[in-house]
Structure formats: structure tokens, C-alpha cells
Symmetry: C2
Subunit: 345 residues, 2 copies
């Protein structure tokens, strides 16, 4: 780990459970559409060109460090590079989101998927990491991320975004053997991918279970948690691992037991309740409602203080409860970050 | 109330907290796209014609009583008849869902909305109720429904369906005065509407807060709960009121205190946990994952038994945790209903 050389290592120290001078702060999707400079690149280059070109990925990744002042970078990429590497085509259709032209619907579809070494099949990600680490010059750490196997399955089977992913769920409930084989293949590919990302220079890994909250607590234990656990166990000997499940308020203790260094929380759980569930020793991350950044700046400042008071300023990483929205004014995002930096109990 | 004359009054007795021989059962969206006879009408008549024509609304409402064997009817209608009556145009665009061509974005937009007497402005709903009660001939009760004021606001401000309704939330956070005025106008219109529905013959009212789960617990107490409470208080002297908030697991006790006769639960809360939160005396309704109806029939039967065991067979109404999906085979829906009817502890 290169953490000892990083100048602003607040985020890493908080992840290790150390007592810190203030909570570190970053924002999910911090390199996103609310930044005018991001929009310029978005208009010029298609989505996967921005992901695959190391210079572009670096420029986007570093943008919020310079422009918003967050305490860590997170590599600009996409969770669906995993199906692409497994030979399942993914297109990004402007205005519609990801589309999988040939979705997975049977055991034989699953059996045809490959799990090639990530260092070769996703070499452009590793190149982007090396390039980004150079550009960061040890100012802040770099997070690498992956989708949870359940969330990746949702897209691979449904074939596109959905509010309920009922085709994907139906696939699990009607063809459980094929579904578990698919989840295991995604898990194997993801572990290899994340190990390669750490080797290339990522200081921290976050796993996003964006669609975990569509499952009942019992189904979560069947279809998502065991695979998140495999990933956490494989990666945590190397770098800290943050587990985040959107809508998975019922799984916080499970994430902790699975080996998470920190646990992401969304805003459907109050800070006090989240802290009450896991106790004082577990590092939590979250949970500002992204829409609330549309409030007037004094309201944002007051709400940030209330949030930190609720979680407590130690063993806590300030963040949003989900990705920042495209319609957030940049000065509101900065107000959020600055309110954390100026926090005093 | 006409309940004393209804032959199958199991649902009404359960709502009144009486000890019953088995849990009553119905399904949200039970008159829906999974029924081939519904699809024939859907192909022949546009959405709002089906809603506005009393003969069509009656035919659709009665369908699942005859074809699936549920213990109550629920009037075929739409939550967005309320904005229509308030002079806010709503179109139903096939494949896209509801579209509001001129969404509400300012205090002056809100001030222009009207709240005319529902008996006149929504007379077609009252006609459909009278017609449906005739067709039901007191076989089972009839539920009337409305959307929660928060959920109606989401559509009126956003202008269409959305996964986060961030424009609607931004409207509340940046223009709270206008948002509260809008919510109060919707509430006033809804109370008048539901009173007229009861007068026309509805035996039970359910309020759907489909988008309540997008709010934090604290914001729920600001933007949704107070208006749900006004509705429950106004209607419960007349008929039982069921409050259902999708994703609102944190509000069960609040719903109970607001005066709900029963509380709907989705599948993100286990039956045991839901029962544990509200205690043995509160009537709960739910919470089968609609996607789980894609499981093989023996699995559906086993899961239904487990669900009823979890809630306990008294003070409980068997239902799904959200609307039935279009891709559910009819015999799977019947298996769900029959498994409840055959339940023994």
C-alpha cells in the first residue's frame, strides 16, 4: 500500500478506525454531470471512450479534487465493464442508459460467459489507474470500485435499467441453479478485477450494490450477501473495502460481519439509527439525500452539521446517500464539502 | 356502511380486528395486465376511457373476483384523476406512463389549481362505484383508493415517472411554502373525493404512498405523514382506512398513530420484524414480493405459509408487497390466493 506517502490521508486513517481531526468527505458520482467541465467532455466523447481512454478517465477523476475539494478520488469507470470482459455486450444509449442486446436468460447463456484475466481483458482500466495515480501525485487516495454480483446480474439478465428488475428476479426464482452459477462467475471475475486494480494502484475498494434493496432481507442473504462477502474477504487483506447497498438498511450488521472496513448508508435510515444498529466501532459512510443539495446553502450547512452529530464525528466518512444529481449547482456541492471541513461538535 | 349485507365479509371483519377463520386475501393491481381478459380491453380502449366509462371500470373491477377468487374488489381507477380534477392535465402515454404536459413548478402554478367538489368533477368515478356495487351484488366488499398527497405531488411537479423524483424533491426543498400549499390543496381535494367515494358505496379506503420511500424518515414526517394523517382522520369515522407506504418501513407506528385501520407492508421488511414493530393488535397487510410469483407453484405455496406464520394469522390481510406484475401466469396468482385460503397454522 502506498498510503503512507499520501499527503491527505484523512480518508485512509478514518477507514482504519483511527481518531481523526474531522470526518473525511467525498461524494458518490463526484466526477459527474453537475460539473460543467465534465459536460464538455461528455458532449465530445461517447461514454465508453471516456471510460477506456486513460487520459480522459484521469482528467475526469481528478476534476472534483481540484474543483470541489473532496478528500479522495474515485476512478471514473463503470460497473458494466465486468459483463463486457465476460463477453456480454453492453451499449450505453444516450437518454436511456445501459442496454445489453443479448441478455442472459438460460443456463446455457451463463455457461458461455468467459472469465478472462482482468489484467489483460480490462487493461485499459489498469492503465487509467496508473495514469490517474501519476496525475494525483499522492495528493489524495484513489478508490477503485465494482458493482455487486447481484447488481451486475440485474443488468445482464434484464437487459436494461428497470424500476423493479422483475425479469432478473424471475430468473433467480425460476432458475436458481443458473442464477447462482452466473453470480459465482461474476464474483470470480470481479475478485480478479479488483485485485488487479489494487495492484495497479487503488488504495481503497468500494462495492456498489445499487439494486440490493429490491430484495427481501431473506432473499438478500441468498442472492447478494454471500457474493459481497467473497469479494470483501478476498480484497480486505490488501486494502480497505467499503460495502454499500442502496436500500439495504437491514444488512448493515451483515456487511460488518462480512469484513467491510466501512459501510455505506443511504438516507432512508437516520444517522442515529444507523449508528445504533452497528454500534460505535464500525466505520459508517453517508448519507446525505442528494436531492437535498437543492436546498438553500444555509440549509445544506445546517443539515450537514446535524448529520455528522447524528453519526458522531469519529468512525465516520461524510458522503451522500447515493450519487450526486446532474442538476446540483456546483456551489451547493462545494457548500456540502466545506460544511464537513468546517465541522465542530 | 353496507358491510352487514356483504356475504363474504372476511376482509371487513379482519379490518375491524375480529378473530377470523383464515386471513382474507387480495392483491394490489389484481385487475391488471396479467389477466388475458384485461389485456383484451386494454387493447380496445385507451387508459382513461377504461377509467371513465362505468361499464368498463366495473367489468375490470369484477374480473379478479370471478377469475382469481380474491376476498375483496378494488375499484379500477387511477391516482392521477385528482390532478385532472384540479385542472392539471394528465396524459397516459403507452409504454411511457403518465405525462403531465404543464408540471407545477412555482407558487403561482399552485395558486392556479382548483379544488372543485368531487361529486361533480369526478362524477364518473362515483358512477363506476354505483355500477360496480350492483355487479358485485354484495358478494365481496369494494375498496376505493387514492394516492397520498406526497405521491401526487411527485407526479404533478416532476411531470412524469422517475426513479428518484429529484425535481419534485428539489421543489419541496427549495420552495417549501409552495410545496406545502400544494400538498394541502391535494389533501383537501382527496378528502372530498374519498368522502364522495364512500357515499357512493366504497366499503374501505386505501391510500397508496408509492413514492414515500424516496424520503428520509425526517422528511417523511414533514412532506408526507401529516397529509396522510389528515386523510385517515377524515375518513375513518366512515369506513376503515388502510395506509400503505412503499419503502416506508420506518413509518409503521406513525401510520398506526395516524389512525390507520390497517397498515400495508412491502417485502423489504420481514413479516416477523413488521409484527415486532407494531405489536400484536395492529392489523397488517402484505407483503409477498410480486416477482416471487414467478417461482414454481410449490415454492409459492411454501412461501405463503411462511409469510402467514411470520405475521400470525390474526389481524393480518394477505396481499402482495406491491402491485402484481404483468408477466405473472394467472395460475401462479391463483396459487397464491388458494394457498392463503388453505392456510392452517
Amino acid at each position: 500500500m502506498s498510503s503512507s506517502k499520501i499527503k491527505n490521508d484523512l480518508f485512509l486513517r478514518a477507514l482504519q478506525g483511527e481518531t481523526v481531526e474531522r470526518p473525511p468527505v467525498w461524494m458518490m458520482r463526484q466526477a459527474g454531470r453537475y460539473l460543467p467541465d465534465f459536460m464538455k467532455l461528455k458532449e465530445k466523447y461517447p461514454f465508453f471512450e471516456r471510460v477506456q481512454n486513460p487520459e480522459l478517465a484521469t482528467e475526469i477523476t481528478v476534476m472534483p479534487i481540484d474543483q470541489v475539494g473532496v478528500d479522495t478520488a474515485i476512478l471514473f469507470s463503470d460497473i458494466l465493464v465486468i459483463p463486457q470482459a465476460m463477453n456480454c455486450e453492453v451499449e450505453m444509449v444516450p437518454g436511456r442508459g445501459p442496454v445489453i442486446p443479448n441478455p442472459i436468460r438460460s443456463l446455457s447463456d451463463v455457461e458461455k460467459l468467459i472469465t478472462p484475466p482482468a489484467e489483460e481483458s480490462l487493461d485499459y482500466v489498469m492503465n487509467a489507474i496508473v495514469h490517474t495515480k501519476d496525475a494525483l501525485a499522492n495528493r489524495v487516495p484513489l478508490i477503485g470500485f465494482a458493482g455487486s454480483p447481484w447488481t451486475i446480474l440485474c443488468y445482464m439478465v434484464e437487459g436494461h435499467g428497470s424500476k423493479d428488475f422483475s425479469t432478473a428476479k424471475g430468473f433467480c426464482f425460476s432458475q436458481p441453479k443458473a442464477a447462482h452459477l452466473l453470480l459465482q462467475k461474476i464474483t470470480d471475475m470481479t475478485i480478479d478485477y479488483l485485485k488487479a486494480k489494487v495492484k495497479a494502484g487503488c488504495d481503497v475498494i468500494q462495492v456498489f450494490d445499487s439494486w440490493g434493496g429490491l430484495l427481501s432481507p431473506e432473499d438478500y442473504n441468498t442472492w447478494s450477501l454471500p457474493y459481497m462477502r467473497q469479494i470483501a474477504q478476498a480484497i480486505k487483506p490488501h486494502v480497505p473495502v467499503i460495502l454499500f447497498g442502496k436500500g439495504c438498511w437491514y444488512a448493515l450488521n451483515d456487511f460488518s460481519e462480512a469484513g467491510a472496513s466501512a459501510i455505506g448508508v443511504d438516507w432512508t435510515l437516520s444517522p442515529e439509527k444507523a449508528r445504533g444498529i452497528v454500534g460505535p466501532d464500525v466505520v459508517l459512510q453517508g448519507n446525505f439525500d442528494p436531492s437535498k443539495l437543492l436546498s438553500p446553502i444555509p440549509v445544506i450547512e445546517a443539515e450537514v452539521k446535524k448529520m455528522i452529530d447524528g453519526f458522531g464525528p469519529q468512525r465516520y466518512i461524510a458522503n451522500l446517500g447515493h450519487g450526486i444529481l446532474p442538476n446540483i449547482p456546483v456551489d451547493h456541492a462545494k457548500a456540502f464539502v466545506n460544511a464537513v471541513k468546517q465541522y465542530s461538535a
